[in-house]
């Protein structure tokens, strides 16, 4: 059946007494995520990305507004607990999400919490290890893994719980380029297998790999468009402190010099071919 997540007019804050509404971490957010989407959420430091992520899997409870899964409001602790199976989350620091002192035991942790039988665990664990490319490292201790491997272990732990949605909260930001590429590839594969991917980042190049982009700034949603549409409007990203893709910068610079290029570029591809013809 899948999982559709809906936020309606959601507000959220950490410290109730001291803050006026314009300082709340999440302000008046309405969003909808369909099963199977690949979405990036981008915003600068402190824009409210992590707070939003934690609202999406029930770690935080909206201060105001409605949070629904498949149209059903999530209200009780039991609801939120069951949601954890459907919506998994990978955090930023690979070190701080591994609980057990060995690879297999860490993957088992989530399954144990869900009350999955031993036989089922024995069946699932090798499968997810294979999927994230950690087969053969079953008995390794976490501190002997590289950052990228730790992050893949965290993903395996979530995958074993067979979620419909996985949220990545800046999960690539502490990795080296190799580790980063590996995780991005894995996201793509998971998306192709039907899992909803929500990727939170402040890197434009990574964000544009998604199909849909959401820009958040000071707790508010500024844009919510397909990545093609957003690419065409990417010069706007600058005002919220975000990277503008280099192709767009070139496009703008050349237009300023009087080159006859279309006003909007939908992709780097288009830029390359137009450039060639106008030379």
């Amino acid at each position: 059946m899948g999982t559709e997540i809906t936020l309606k007019d959601v507000w959220f804050h950490y410290y109730p007494q001291t803050e006026s509404r314009e300082n709340w971490a999440v302000q008046n957010v309405s969003l909808d995520f369909q099963q199977g989407e690949y979405v990036s959420i981008i915003g600068s430091n402190g824009s409210g990305k992590s707070s939003l992520a934690c609202l999406l899997n029930g770690l935080f409870i909206p201060t105001e507004g409605a949070f629904c899964i498949n149209g059903q409001p999530i209200t009780t602790d039991q609801d939120r607990w069951e949601l954890k199976r459907r919506v998994g989350m990978i955090f930023q620091n690979p070190d701080n999400q591994i609980v057990a002192p060995s690879v297999v035991d860490d993957i088992a942790f989530g399954l144990e919490n869900l009350g999955v039988s031993r036989e089922e665990m024995k069946y699932r664990i090798p499968l997810v290890l294979e999927q994230v490319g950690l087969s053969g490292l079953e008995k390794k201790e976490p501190h002997h893994l590289s950052g990228g491997q730790k992050q893949r272990l965290a993903i395996a732990g979530i995958l074993a719980m067979q979620p419909d949605v996985i949220i990545f909260d800046e999960s690539t930001s502490m990795l080296d380029p190799d580790g980063r590429k590996h995780i991005l590839r894995l996201m793509d594969e998971l998306h192709k297998s039907g899992i909803t991917i929500i990727h939170i980042t402040h890197q434009a190049t990574e964000a544009f790999l998604a199909e849909r982009l959401i820009v958040i700034h000071q707790g508010r949603i500024m844009m919510d468009q397909s990545s093609k549409e957003l690419y065409a409007n990417a010069t706007l990203l600058d005002q919220w402190g975000l990277d503008v893709p280099i192709g767009i910068l070139l496009h703008q610079a050349l237009r300023d010099k009087g080159w006859k290029l279309s006003e909007k570029m939908e992709s780097e591809e288009q830029l390359v071919s137009e450039l060639w013809t106008s030379m």
Binding site: N57, K84, D105, F109, G110, R118, M121
Partner: protein, 264 residues
């Protein structure tokens, strides 16, 4: 991390590595009592012989055991000296104006230090051949009956396992912070005890802060993986006694009989 942490697990596939951790834990626990039954040269020789066999079986290099003795060497030497000069009895072997060493003193000193040595080496054999996870699991299962009197055995075991998981991480973190402050000219080596303690403040504070941050993030990650205490939880690891584990009973009885027979 310039030297290995004492009692660190050393992966391997020896007979001792493959024993059930509960069996090992119980065995070592009971063995500690056995040490106190030894009271003459032949009984101590049997214990030494047994420890030597265990070291051989573990397939771990002897220098690592020497490494684990080092930290307690001071205590061993101190108690030996005390026994040498304080214990009276038997023939006087050496007389000085300050003290006299008697035969009995030498015996006691040898026995006491033997006891220490055997204890430490046996404990090292246990930790060298058993992963920390196996140890906590063994502890959790051996203490299972205490759940009936409301001891939170599951939570305690989880806490211990998390602690073990994070020891290397925190150790690395300590090194990093220490290096950062050393690079800022911190002087950790000279001055009196108070000066030195004060010099460590710039290391302790960041370390505490980062541990809190870690704890907070870990708690979030655990909750995100549907953790809510022990309710309705299954267990992946299942410890099962096998034939060789029962052999430990036979070995233990054998030791008891031999020592009981040879002790004076």
């Amino acid at each position: 991390m310039s030297r290995i942490v004492i009692g660190q697990y050393i992966p391997g596939d020896s007979f001792l590595h493959r024993l059930d951790p509960r069996a090992k834990l119980l065995f070592v626990f009971l063995f500690f009592f056995l040490i106190f039954l030894a009271n003459n040269i032949s009984t101590y020789l049997i214990l030494y012989l047994f420890v030597a066999i265990c070291i051989l079986l573990s397939q771990i290099r002897v220098r690592l055991f020497l490494g684990s003795i080092k930290p307690v060497l001071f205590i061993i030497i101190l108690t030996s000296i005390l026994h040498l000069v304080m214990t009276k009895g038997g023939a006087a072997l050496l007389t000085t104006p300050l003290f006299t060493v008697y035969e009995e003193g030498v015996r006691q000193a040898a026995f006491i230090s033997s006891r220490f040595l055997i204890l430490v080496v046996m404990a090292s054999i246990l930790t060298f051949t058993t992963s920390s996870l196996d140890l906590t699991d063994a502890l959790e299962q051996l203490l299972e009956p205490l759940k009936k009197i409301r001891v939170p055995v599951h939570e305690l075991a989880l806490m211990m396992s998390i602690a073990l998981r994070f020891i290397p991480t925190l150790w690395e973190e300590t090194e990093k912070i220490k290096n950062a402050q050393l690079a800022r000219g911190a002087n950790l080596e000279s001055g009196n005890i108070f000066k030195r303690l004060a010099a460590y403040i710039p290391i302790f504070i960041p370390l505490f802060l980062s541990s809190f941050r870690r704890a907070e993030e870990l708690a979030m990650a655990m909750e995100a993986r549907a953790y809510r205490g022990g309710i309705g939880r299954t267990k992946y690891r299942l410890l099962q006694y096998k034939g060789k584990d029962y052999s430990l009973i036979v070995i233990f009885l054998l030791l008891v009989i031999m020592i009981g027979w040879l002790r004076s």
